[in-house]
Amino acid sequence: MSNKSFVWSCLLPLAVVTAAFFLLPMARLVITGAGGPQGFSGYLAILVEPRYRATLVNTVLLAAATTVVTLLVATIAGMFLQRHRFPGRAVLVAMLTFPLAFPGVVVGFMIILLAGRQGLIGDLSARLFGEKLVFAYSIYGLFFGYLYFSIPRVILTIMAAVQKLDIGLEEAARSLGASPWAVQRDVVLPALAPAFVASGAIAFATAMGAFGTAFTLATNIDVLPMLIYTEFTLAANFATAAALSVGLGVITWFILMLARSFSGSAVAAAG
């Protein structure tokens, strides 16, 4: 057997797995999506039908807000945790990664305990203002749930990136007269850009597609995964559910590509 054919035969399992678990189901999904009464224009309905379109916009906005707020919180916290040594730091870092151990259902449950009808925030606001503040069963509850499990992932990525940052770069910028703000703007943040894109992409994709939390909080939150679920199980509308699934994938993929190319120069430069 020649070297080349040996390499090809080694790739065979990968080809089989790719075909069986990726290409075939995807193709099937795309075909099912076009199998409704409207044919391939069923895909167009995602954008044209007001209910679908509103849900789509909602989902993207929710995912974008989650990503931005997560990056903001995690960058500041990650930088602090990496650059400072204090008693209890190791315990704190370990605790911050704890949410990674929970499935979405548990996160949803925790949000209900916090901001639900019998929740802590409701009790507190009832005592202080005489009015019960309940937001667990809305898109805001979902937002906090996503924040809760996005922040640990992003913090860990940012901490690793900060650790690799050459402290000499900051000192060089300062020696050239840069104020602490200018150092962050011109040196630190550009150097962390690849980590922002990588961890932000994970946060975004998770917030676009996560289902467990949304399902635990309420069945009437208008996000795409819930819509797919209701179309599929309640309305038995296979074609629309499939079309929405493909749409969800394509849109998420497209926005991630956009983010990557937008920060492409920064990523390449930090290469």
């Binding site: 300062r174 007269g177 040196v187 430069a269």
Partner: protein, 353 residues
């Protein structure tokens, strides 16, 4: 100290010591004056405190209480580095990867609010001064080590600093390039005439670049002097061995003569000592016929290094004596030779550790 007519600031550090938070004493309290336009080299093995001293002058470290840093007589101790107007070149070069070569060089000027046109002119001037014309729009990861070193230097000099601080700027380069850049750097520093403080562990670099050298050891200053002072009249055994090659001999002295197994070697003063430490540089020893000099020994090995021979002679003192001889001397291992040393070439060092 006013022999230097360069520009930039005069630097004085007063009682500057440094103890780190974990209790490590990196630098004993030291006082040092650096004249306007002088190039001062801080030389020593790793961990000797030279980088700590540089960082105190830069403003990246605070000296322990009581320490003071003065530029032209003004107390700068509590002024942060961004307001000290120092140019700094780091061992890693620390070039900004998200900026082009020209943007790196112009960064300090941009921060200072210098107009775009003026900035471009200054960058062009520095690019030609440091021989990197044509690389202005390159990314940093497209540059070789030598080119990075030049960009780092151009960036530090662009802001017209009062003091130029260089932290082992050539260490990251390979040997051949290092030698070439050393000469180039020397010419550049001379033409700039700016006060320069240069940290290195390489004594050849220190010799070539320094107006004065501060030899450091274990956080303390071992000796300060011109390269000639340091080489010819080292104050102690550490300096003698760290700078150049030295034969260090421990032996008694009788009537101004070193008493050795291979004979008696006269020295300059007529002292009597039970035990003395003497230094003889290898190039001050001349190989002569056996019997033609008071000292004699047996050649153990001869290595040809091109421009000279390095010969090891045994039987003179308890350790083999290294001799640097011209490359036309004819000796073979096993041969008995005489060794002629001028009395003034023998330097007695204090007994210590």
């Amino acid at each position: 100290m006013s022999a230097f007519e360069g520009h930039g600031a005069a630097v004085r550090i007063e009682d500057c010591g440094k103890t780190f938070a974990d209790g490590t004493r990196a630098l004993e309290a030291a006082t040092l004056d650096i004249a306007r336009g002088e190039t001062l080299v801080l030389l020593g093995p790793s961990g000797c405190g030279k980088t700590t001293m540089l960082r105190i002058i830069a403003g990246l470290e605070l000296p322990d209480d009581g320490g003071k840093v003065l530029f032209d007589g003004n107390d700068m101790t509590s002024v942060p580095i961004e307001r000290r107007n120092v140019g700094m070149v780091f061992q890693s070069y620390a070039l900004f990867p998200n900026m082009s070569v020209a943007e790196n060089i112009g960064y300090g000027l941009k921060i200072r609010g210098v107009s775009k046109g003026e900035r471009a002119a200054r960058v062009a001037e520095l690019v030609s001064l440091t021989n990197i014309t044509g690389l202005e729009n390159r990314r940093i990861d497209q540059l070789s080590g030598g080119q990075r070193q030049r960009v780092a230097l151009a960036r530090a000099v662009a802001i017209r600093p009062g003091i130029l601080l260089l932290d082992e700027p050539l260490t990251a380069l390979d040997a051949a390039l290092r030698d070439r850049l050393r000469g180039e750097l020397n010419r550049l520093l001379r033409s700039l005439g700016i006060t320069t403080i240069y940290v290195t562990h390489d004594q050849a670099e220190a010799m070539e670049l320094g107006d004065r050298i501060v030899v450091m050891r274990k956080g303390a200053i071992a000796q300060i002097g011109t390269p000639r002072d340091i080489y010819f009249t080292p104050r102690n055994r550490f300096v003698a061995e760290f700078i150049g090659a030295a034969n260090i001999i421990e032996c008694p002295v009788e009537n101004g003569q070193l008493v050795l197994a291979g004979g008696r070697q006269p020295i300059r003063s007529g002292v009597n000592l039970a035990i003395a430490v003497a230094m003889i540089r290898p190039e001050t020893i001349e190989i002569v016929e056996a019997g033609a000099a008071p000292l004699s020994g047996v050649v153990e090995s001869v290595s040809f290094t091109g421009d000279r021979l390095r010969i090891a002679v045994v039987g003179v003192s308890d350790r083999p004596l290294n001799v640097d001889a011209p490359n036309n001397v004819k000796v073979a291992p096993g041969e008995r030779v005489g060794l002629r040393v001028a009395p003034k070439a023998v330097r007695l060092l204090p007994l210590e550790d």
